[in-house]
Symmetry: D2
Subunit: 411 residues, 4 copies
Amino acid sequence: MSLMEARPLSLTERFAASRALTERLAGLLSAEDQTAQSMPDASPTKWHRAHTSWFYEEFVLGQDEGYEPYDATFRYLFNSYYEAVGPRHPRPERGLVTRPGVAEVSSYRVHVERAVTLLLAGSPAAALRELVELGINHEQQHQELLVMDAKHLLSRHAFGPKLIERPAEDDPDPAPLQWRHVTGGLRHVGHEGDGFAFDNETPRHTVHLDDFEIASRAVTVADWLAFMDDGGYQRPDLWLSDGWAAVQAHGWRSPEYWWDVDGGWKVFTTAGVRDLRRGEPVCHVSFYEADAYARWAGARLPTEQEWEIAARPVADRRGQLLDPVRLHPGLAGEAMIGDVWEWTASAYLPYPGFRPAPGAVGEYNGKFMCDQHVLRGASCATPPGHERVTYRNFFPAGARWAFSGLRLARS
Amino acid sequence: MSLMEARPLSLTERFAASRALTERLAGLLSAEDQTAQSMPDASPTKWHRAHTSWFYEEFVLGQDEGYEPYDATFRYLFNSYYEAVGPRHPRPERGLVTRPGVAEVSSYRVHVERAVTLLLAGSPAAALRELVELGINHEQQHQELLVMDAKHLLSRHAFGPKLIERPAEDDPDPAPLQWRHVTGGLRHVGHEGDGFAFDNETPRHTVHLDDFEIASRAVTVADWLAFMDDGGYQRPDLWLSDGWAAVQAHGWRSPEYWWDVDGGWKVFTTAGVRDLRRGEPVCHVSFYEADAYARWAGARLPTEQEWEIAARPVADRRGQLLDPVRLHPGLAGEAMIGDVWEWTASAYLPYPGFRPAPGAVGEYNGKFMCDQHVLRGASCATPPGHERVTYRNFFPAGARWAFSGLRLARS
Amino acid sequence: MSLMEARPLSLTERFAASRALTERLAGLLSAEDQTAQSMPDASPTKWHRAHTSWFYEEFVLGQDEGYEPYDATFRYLFNSYYEAVGPRHPRPERGLVTRPGVAEVSSYRVHVERAVTLLLAGSPAAALRELVELGINHEQQHQELLVMDAKHLLSRHAFGPKLIERPAEDDPDPAPLQWRHVTGGLRHVGHEGDGFAFDNETPRHTVHLDDFEIASRAVTVADWLAFMDDGGYQRPDLWLSDGWAAVQAHGWRSPEYWWDVDGGWKVFTTAGVRDLRRGEPVCHVSFYEADAYARWAGARLPTEQEWEIAARPVADRRGQLLDPVRLHPGLAGEAMIGDVWEWTASAYLPYPGFRPAPGAVGEYNGKFMCDQHVLRGASCATPPGHERVTYRNFFPAGARWAFSGLRLARS
Amino acid sequence: MSLMEARPLSLTERFAASRALTERLAGLLSAEDQTAQSMPDASPTKWHRAHTSWFYEEFVLGQDEGYEPYDATFRYLFNSYYEAVGPRHPRPERGLVTRPGVAEVSSYRVHVERAVTLLLAGSPAAALRELVELGINHEQQHQELLVMDAKHLLSRHAFGPKLIERPAEDDPDPAPLQWRHVTGGLRHVGHEGDGFAFDNETPRHTVHLDDFEIASRAVTVADWLAFMDDGGYQRPDLWLSDGWAAVQAHGWRSPEYWWDVDGGWKVFTTAGVRDLRRGEPVCHVSFYEADAYARWAGARLPTEQEWEIAARPVADRRGQLLDPVRLHPGLAGEAMIGDVWEWTASAYLPYPGFRPAPGAVGEYNGKFMCDQHVLRGASCATPPGHERVTYRNFFPAGARWAFSGLRLARS
């Protein structure tokens, strides 16, 4: 480790780095790519770039009465879901906001960056620094969403265009699955301490767990092919009722982005359409599929509490050294954090004693705690440094455009 | 208590009683009423009567090779959702199955009753007796669904027809809400022992709970009016994101079945359209509404574990003496079981170590454990004797046609 | 012809006969059958019976201030689409009006019949007699709708129940198609004279037609099988754009009510599921299918003006002698009226100079003159005496539940 | 008139001019604007630019075996609706084709223009010249669609951005409406002669018309305000049944693009949001609204035959001199062609003896002749020189994004 790495980055430096990474990702996309919205759940790149700037205007810069917003209409155009802030552009029509264009969004970003940098230079109060910290983490979340959404958009194109270049890779056999025993009892889960965490990771609290076992690696493409070969997508007994309805409604017969090309499976990746790689963690599966696979395998998904307890000793810190634009899972290995988000058996609910922050920023997490499912870990599209063993990601049971896979557990 | 009551009823007697109660409830409805289906989630009375008979044919009588089904087409027409049994009539079109008619369904019921009674007279194996027990409990569930569905159907009629006659009742002030303290620690929840329980109530297992407080009575109509007067249905900050979307999509501004008649609230009941009764538990609210109310009141919903622990000492046994066709909540009192189902904060998930029964009957509960919410207690439409402190009822967050209310808790 | 038949029936007699025929048709259906609504475009039998009574209450009996309506709520429940009359029960929910029941609808009908009969006995004004005449014709239209709707309802039942009994029939080869030449020039079309006609058949007016040829018989089942064998449902070049979209959206590959049973075609009829009969006119095809067939056959559909001119010399009067409950086409013959309605190439538009009647009754026809298609002739479900060479029936292009076929023309 | 104007332009010159006008219109829009699709019925500017080039590749250049298509994938991406050509990108997802980008579409256009120009320089056969003529007219149609679609897109933006700059204009009182008498009898309608016409304007044929009167000018904004003031959008008696359903479903209470700003009407135009101008022809009304207005005014819409006969003596040729990017109606005047398309009472049907062209190009018009309504004239967005007295434009009854108005007639 070099001397430079030894010094922790300042808030200003981390702010600048997070802003730069968004632009580096956006730079993979043309103005046209940045404008389109491929489904109501996804947003245009341009919108992500503007919204992550609006967030600072609304919650940080707006605290200063003298601050002049870049453009008064942006408060309407780039608010995501904060009811307390006021009316906003309808989500399914974000792709129709062709103005401001990409170039003007760049100007907007520069404007906001200057203002935040100046503010930080002035030794602001702790509360304001915490909001900048939240803004950085918020932008990191949108970096992954930006990649997910752009990948989904490009996948709608019949000819599979690329987001990045990546050379072909070999495909060694995946490591055999092993079971790690974890001893139960009274355990503590949730975030505690000085570092940043989202409100939904708190408060730290006590749970009782029985003994359990957890798989040594994520479920791989090779595993998934065995599930498919065994009629996994044709057997209702393996599926939740809603899951089976989804299979039939959408005609699912493989993970998202697997393309049947002349009778053989290819996979659409951020680097174009490729052969399957058997040793990779399976990715872009829904909760329904993860749950059905686990049932087929005679196992189950871990609860989020089990996952957190099991991950603590093996949580991978290599994330901070990784290339932030690799954007595709590597081979399934020992680390529990870093390739694919892992669906858990847990519904996304408030921890005992959970309290959202006061004001509009309190809408960040709490109001989504209904009919969503917790994923743990992080993915190849999660910006380095954003991962955390207590981190709670969440999506609806049918979502497949996240970089989502699974790991088995059993009692 | 008389001598007669002292003797527990035999399985045959309980079978006969459960069959008779279905017919008593159906007798409140004309052939036309029994045929219609008011929404995909509801079923015609006639269908409930036939389906609860098919259940015995499929799972009990069908075990005997010599059994002759009443009509081979009924296996298709009256299977509800058992994939393992084979294809079935589409659920949203149950109202189109005008044949068999009501009279023939009566014959079908008699046919099945004779066969089950003969079978029970022959000292069947324990496994078969357990399936009859399941059949009785299954039919009891459908008795409540029958009432819910019939009430929903009649409510679609502009002029509010009646299901039963009931005299007007006075409306004393509700008892003031008090908070009962419950001490936390390691506790055991779930069913254990000889009595009947559904698989979803098992296995009994250990949980860790913090201390909490629970309200001495359910939320009343008077309470709800205060919530409405305070803009409860107009303030997005009180609602889950999906809940607020539901308020706007459906135009909710009161519980289901409250009718705005010339600017004043009336309530559509099984006995027709009436004045509100302030002391009753509020009924026919969704999980979204229950959650928003609790937030407004500075409290929260109890988890199902908290509810079960709190209810144990005060669970009401009077249910077994009640009129099975009262079909409307009484005044909110001390009992935690008997007037309205109470929404909890818990998602409907498998208990640790849950295993569904083998075969088609294993589809009874497990496959619905996704994106539903647990209700505890029982309601005025639950048949007497069917309630249980470990009972787990469940509905989607937006459902309002169940007899569902709420009780507050706080940490 | 007997002496009795020689005397024209009085208005009172025709009123009574039309009322009786509705009851005779309804008598084929149970109370349950009469209650259900199989799609928004169809209505329950019970509703047809009540609505045709309401029509007299609203437009005839209501003219007398002293008339006491049978039940004030029926004005809301049984108004079909008359905006000028006031609000009404939503059309897609007619199947939920379980009350009044079938027996009470019978009482309602008797009540109305008595009142109209008394009124007619009192030598009412010509205008009132004309409204009774309209009421009779209105009820005749609903008799055919009642049959169409009941057939559609029973068809949704997986096991094909029957409406009537009818013995098996042989299937002689259809007569070869011949072309009749019709000379063009200035011609007059539309109704004129003393007999009853709907307003949409007037005024009689002049059109210019080129010479054309018309087929000697309707397109038969045998013809249609040839179309199907030649890929008729797989070739987009044969179809209108909207028609091809309908083929794909609904998966059409045969006329409505043709059932693929173990790889062979059967047809669901009012007398149950049967073998195809090659000599019958094809029935239950949409305008899209009729148009595609004509294109495939190198011909076209006649315009309604051509049809009317061609039909005049060969219009079949036998209808008046036919069994009013045969309810299935016979073998395709010379007559242009009587087995199936025939789609024309004409959009349903007002004739030059068309004026709807004043008042609510003016909504009878005019407001539907948009995006519908004219059918001419009559069908096996049209009550005898209701057919007329100037009669304009109409349905949307995709409708298939009418008794609709086609006849070819060419220039 | 100058000497230059006296010489008719060559096919090559007209080809070049039509290509240039498309680019001039597209030049009003950014790359982002050109990418978005605001509804399934509209297409992105970029798509129009590419599709009008594909049309030449498919139908003209592709006839030469040696022609190398610019990009083989464009045949899939930019086919509009020609089934005979093969599969194509789904219409509602044209906004997701972000690649090729705007710059590459420009290259594509240049490639095609060079090839067509070379081909024309080589004295091609008459059939090929006719296809180029069709290509020019096809591109002109898309120029108007491009403007309609871009206007619709910008209208979805809450702040009303501009497509062009235009100074404010005064608003003199509209000329009083006068009635022109037209004598009926046998008349000839449809295209005949050497000039270009679409197949749907042929063959010329004979019709019989009664005498009629036609208004001296189009219905104006002032007229429309009177209709609105008289409850035009609240009175079901004025509307077709489908029209009234549309009013209620969409909440219509003014023409499209009229914005209620603080209680007063403004209009969104291609030059931004402005005050109403009372003397302009009303624009962006649906057929339903045009029909209701005519009924309210005690008049009716003319049939397309009446319109054509009435327009012949007063058809405005000034169009050819007009600015092709004015894109907004002027004051209502004597001319029947040039400001707004005028809805007629006629359904869009084939003329007697109509025959579509053989091959894929035969899908151009004929397959849309169902449930659409004819508009006559031309609009401020129709490219100069494209208008024709026999021209048949058509849209569904509910469409409002075309530059569509109306003119009254009466018998």
